[in-house]
Assembly symmetry: C2
Homo-oligomer: 387 residues x 2
């Protein structure tokens, strides 16, 4: 008889962290990164406009006022994605859109609303200051920085960041293959006849669902009779998986043979009787470096034992450093804490930038930045309904 806490320690000590696989980013949801993701080029890659307006040399605006407006000749246009080839000299301006590349010679953007256009000229009555309206090269992310770390859990925000880094595929920890089998002469599967003395092998399906929910891969091997040879043979087949989970056959009865079957394959038993209820007869051991869990056959006990003993092991295998449900997933990887921090950092004034010119933020070491309460006349601040 062994304490619950001790059992969990024994399991995690024996649990390996699995290797990598390369996966399309849309198939990585909930998985842990195996690699650090580096910024491959500055973001933005060049100086671009953060506004719709006019790009100009700041010198053109010296001394402007309502009384002495500047009249600048419009010599071209720089929409996003179509750079303007012109060099902007003193007295000239280029019409520019959010995300448009700054033309050579220009160092300031004046926003559309602060200007008027007249017959090929733009009239400026105010000076927004040198460098206004520009997102400078590398302002958001610098080449060589780490934007996501090995071990980070991938959610939509991380998918966006990976795409921004032009990563169509990414290395994540591979998912464990979990073999599932259920013992009992009374069990029948969907395709088998049922009678008053048979019972549906529902544990096979609830366990497989738990494996799926934990983001691992079930290998459903079905029912095995209360027969030592049959159990030995099916366990031998199951050993191609990373983890074997059996349900039933853990009692002391004449037909409870699974412990003998485990022993016949040379299992190093780590524990076989837990000071817990339900789940007392849960068994754990190692055969050829694979984790073997013998769960009791009672459906409630089976499901609870899975959650208690197997799920943390699966999460460790998949590179989740703190197991399921720990701070790593709930805080650091909450995309909206990052988005908030991003908006905070940017002062909130660039949220109409063109698609993808804005980075998706970076992991925060701590909780999201505190936001001052806003008076009711401000627009509603979008926030996320907790899931």
């Amino acid at each position: 008889m062994i304490d619950l806490e001790k059992t969990q320690k024994l399991i995690l000590e024996a649990t390996p962290v699995l290797g990598r696989e390369s996966v399309p980013i849309l198939e990585t949801m909930g998985r842990a990164l195996f690699e650090d993701i580096l910024v491959v080029e500055d973001l933005p890659a060049s100086d671009i406009s953060a506004l719709d307006g006019y790009a100009l040399p700041h010198t053109s605006l010296s001394g402007v006022s309502d009384q002495t407006p500047a009249h600048l000749r419009i010599i071209g246009e720089s929409p996003a994605g179509k750079p303007c080839g012109a060099f902007v000299k003193d007295g000239q301006a280029v019409r520019i859109m959010t995300g448009g590349l700054m033309p050579r010679g220009a160092d300031t953007v004046i926003k559309l609303e602060d200007t008027a256009e007249d017959n090929g000229y733009v009239i400026c009555k105010i000076d927004p200051g040198w460098g206004n309206g520009i997102r400078f090269q590398g302002e958001s992310l610098k080449k060589g920085e780490i934007v996501l770390h090995s071990g980070d859990i991938i959610r939509p925000l991380e998918v966006g960041a990976l795409a921004t880094m032009r990563r169509a595929y990414v290395q994540v920890y591979r998912k464990p293959l979990v073999a599932i089998l259920s013992t009992g002469d009374e069990l029948s599967d969907f395709h088998e006849p049922s009678s008053p003395s048979t019972a549906m092998c529902s544990n096979l399906y609830s366990l497989a669902a738990q494996v799926v929910e934990a983001n691992a891969i079930p290998l459903c091997l079905g029912i095995v009779k209360d027969d030592l040879q049959a159990q030995h043979a099916l366990l031998e087949e199951a050993l191609r998986a990373d983890v074997i989970v059996t349900s039933g056959g853990t009692s002391k009865g004449k037909y409870d043979l699974i412990h003998k079957a485990f022993a016949s394959l040379g299992m190093e038993m780590r524990f076989s009787n837990i000071f817990a209820k339900p789940g007392k007869p849960t068994t754990f051991g190692i055969i050829r470096n694979k984790l073997i869990f013998g769960l009791p056959g009672n459906p409630s006990a089976t499901m609870l034992s899975f959650e208690q003993f197997i799920k943390p092991a699966l999460f460790k295998m998949m590179g989740h450093p703190n197991g399921p449900g720990k701070s790593h997933m709930l805080n650091v990887n909450d995309p909206f804490s990052r988005i908030d921090s991003f908006n905070y950092k940017q002062g909130g004034n660039k949220d109409h930038c063109r698609a993808s010119q804005v980075p998706l933020g970076r992991p925060l070491p701590g909780p999201p930045q505190h936001q001052k309460p806003e008076p009711e006349t401000r627009p509603a601040r979008l926030k996320i309904v907790a899931r």
Copy 2:
């Protein structure tokens, strides 16, 4: 300009609940049942033993004590799944295992630990009372009862219950198909060259990931240029989906054409300017009964708008009565509140029953039953780490 609350009302009013599809139970995780699930036969289907011990007619034990034990002749064996054909008369007993069918003539089970066996006889010194150790037919679930309700969200416990009802396939609400496209001449995809004036179309991928995370199906249509005809044509193609989500092109600039493209397909505009930040230019309308969302191009705003406006609509479409993150998912469907209630109801003394002879519990109307705190000498009670 319209309030956030009003926008959500407008969206949900316009959102249809989708129809059914029949799906293998292991592929239904997180989805809502479309049908009530009836109990197809009593559970247990017959009177079975809840113990390892001996089945006997209670009359055989009348007057037993340490001084006057009963000696009953063992006339057969009833392991789980292999009924014993014998009729048990007064003075006789049948060896029975947990889950074994009660033999005719027997009405009581005395547990193994309370007996001794001697040369074909079992010696009983105590009377456990009439009916002891039996799980009576229909004790857990009665034929015709509803075990799961339409709208219930399927998790591993529900998968187990469906398997117990011998349902390999089940009708669930179908997943919406969500077309995603991104507008902008500056955008490039993985396979396209990048330059200082291009930007990766990361919103396509973060939106697709959000759709996947919401358990719906993304239809990734890619980038469309700032060209009205091209946008019209791609939107026409996108209309085979249930929902269309666009990102970018919602500003007032010369190349922000998506509103014109929506209009060219006859969109009934429901709103186009929200008193919220970020997300202000989010647009919502209807084209041929399909929901159309025009999101701003800024990645943070795009993701937040998806969570705020689109996700609740997707959940309504998929038959989640209270949307994501509401009590339905967190309480009523928490499998472990049900498991606890089950253990509570059963008094905890049958958790070594054979696999699948025990039902998986039923939805509770309220929160889990209160459990009395136990003194430290009791075994640990398994509980679930919150996810």
